[in-house]
């Protein structure tokens, strides 16, 4: 599964990270090395082995349906790049 420049550009776009041609070149080089490392996995026969998402075999705990949060809009929006009348502002969203 050799990685190509178009692959790099596609995943960079999926990840919303701008990448120019020379960066894409460098990245391809580094990621190819990392993927070679990862490829070692393919030698292992994992037939019938269940995937492990969590280290402990526990199930989800449920929260009682109670409103516990209060309005902290002003505190939270102090970190916001652009707000107007309580709304976070972004360039126009086109549907």
């Amino acid at each position: 599964m050799a990685l190509t420049i178009p692959d790099i550009k596609r995943i960079a776009h999926l990840a919303r990270i701008e990448i120019n041609d020379s960066e894409a070149d460098k990245t391809l080089n580094k990621l190819t090395g990392i993927l070679a490392l990862i490829e070692e996995m393919q030698a292992v026969d994992t037939t019938g082995i269940s995937p492990m998402s969590h280290s402990q075999d526990v199930v989800q705990r449920l929260r009682e349906d109670v409103v516990t949060a209060s309005n902290q809009r002003d505190a939270f929006q102090r970190n916001a790049p652009a707000v107007d009348r309580g709304l976070y502002l972004v360039p126009k969203v086109i549907e």
Binding site: H13, L31, I38, F76, N79, P91
Partner: protein
Amino acid sequence: MINQSLKNLSQLLASKAVSSVEMTQTFLERIRQYNPTINAYITIDEEKSLAQAKAADSLIAAGTATTLTGIPFAQKDIFCAKDWRTTCGSKMLANFIAPYDAHVIAQFNHVGAVNLGKTNMDEFAMGSSNETSYFGGVKNPWDLTRVPGGSSGGSAAAVAARLCAAATGTDTGGSIRQPASLCGFTGLKPTYGLVSRYGMIAFASSLDQAGPMAKSAEDCALMMNVMAGFDARDSTSLNHPKEDYTAKLEQPLAGLKVGLPKEYFAEGLDSDVAKVVDEAIATYQKLGAEFVDISLPNASLSIPVYYVLAPAEASSNLSRYDGVRYGHRTAQYDDLMDMYMKSRAEGFGEEVKRRILIGTYVLSAGYYDAYYLKAQQIRHLIADDFKAAFKQCDIIMGPTVPSTAFKTGEKTDDPVAMYLQDIYTIATNLAGLPGMSIPAGFSASIDGHDLPVGLQLIGNYFDEARMLNVAHAYQQVTDWHTAMPKGIE
């Protein structure tokens, strides 16, 4: 004062020989003196620290103090601390003032401990040398031309240079233990789920775990008493009964069965490190421990598995940094897409972007089964190896890192070489097991510098108290853990 144990510092405070304000001032003084060189801290806020110290002094005066009340701790800048700038080592969060406390921070606040400042770290905890921090690298106090390890490099340097009484760290693939080995102190990564992740900025959610970084096992035990505990806000927090981690410290080691995994002593281990580890094993034999050879046959796969799972989770965890609600937003943009693409390209450093791209790739359509699913299956095999091993022994020992601290810049252009730093530590994160590194000696002097070597202990789930006991027994008969780097006295 600076080389005292937490217990002694606590006694100094309790006896009113020293006030918390004085103690905090002492460390702030040292930070002013040494931090410009070492760069262990990203954010210092003397006013806030001293206010906490003052409050602690009132608690002490009122007689309502507990062991850690008034003691100044360094907090890794991965923990949100209310009204503190919390950057996670990234330009993305360079101006982020956390509006809430992480569980760990709240726990320290609850006992009246002092937050001395936020320590430097690899950006979003991705790195093994602290060189990926947006706020610059951290110098290893034992040799300023070398790295302290990572990702908790700032906390590591702060502990080693005695710029705090002790520090917190987080460990996703070795980020507490590897710097503990490289900087010569004691670090513990607890069982996954023992310390709440709430408010700890996520790197790889299924692997991240916070733990203490301190001079000794005893200090770590006292910190664990504060840090560990169930938290309803973290679904992966385990409802494990509260323990006193100091209770078993003095237990004798006679009859302790120690497993030595042959894979951890194979090719790739520096002879200097091997020698120190062998000596430590000999010391343990004298303490009554018995040794058995064990095997962790899938251990060598832990790096490939980790470099699928951790980037995959990270790529998703870091999607929230989009310049909309907080964090870096690019100055100039044409439209929404452009804003996303530029803000994220500018806000993240090289290594973080690299891992986001790997993670995005392994999760993308057509590759999920071959990479992500496969990695999760092998993760199962790795965990099963440990399960089998713990049928033969009580604790596993080996080197923490294959080598001592390397030179700044030595591995920055070779991510794969950098990743191999964590070859002995990652498997425990994948299995969710507790792991520790304790100072066990020094390498042969290079350019007049002695470089610390760590011994790794791996315990079964929830065996932290026993591990601390095993480490403590060693620290009663050795003094590696009290050694201080030259030039910082």
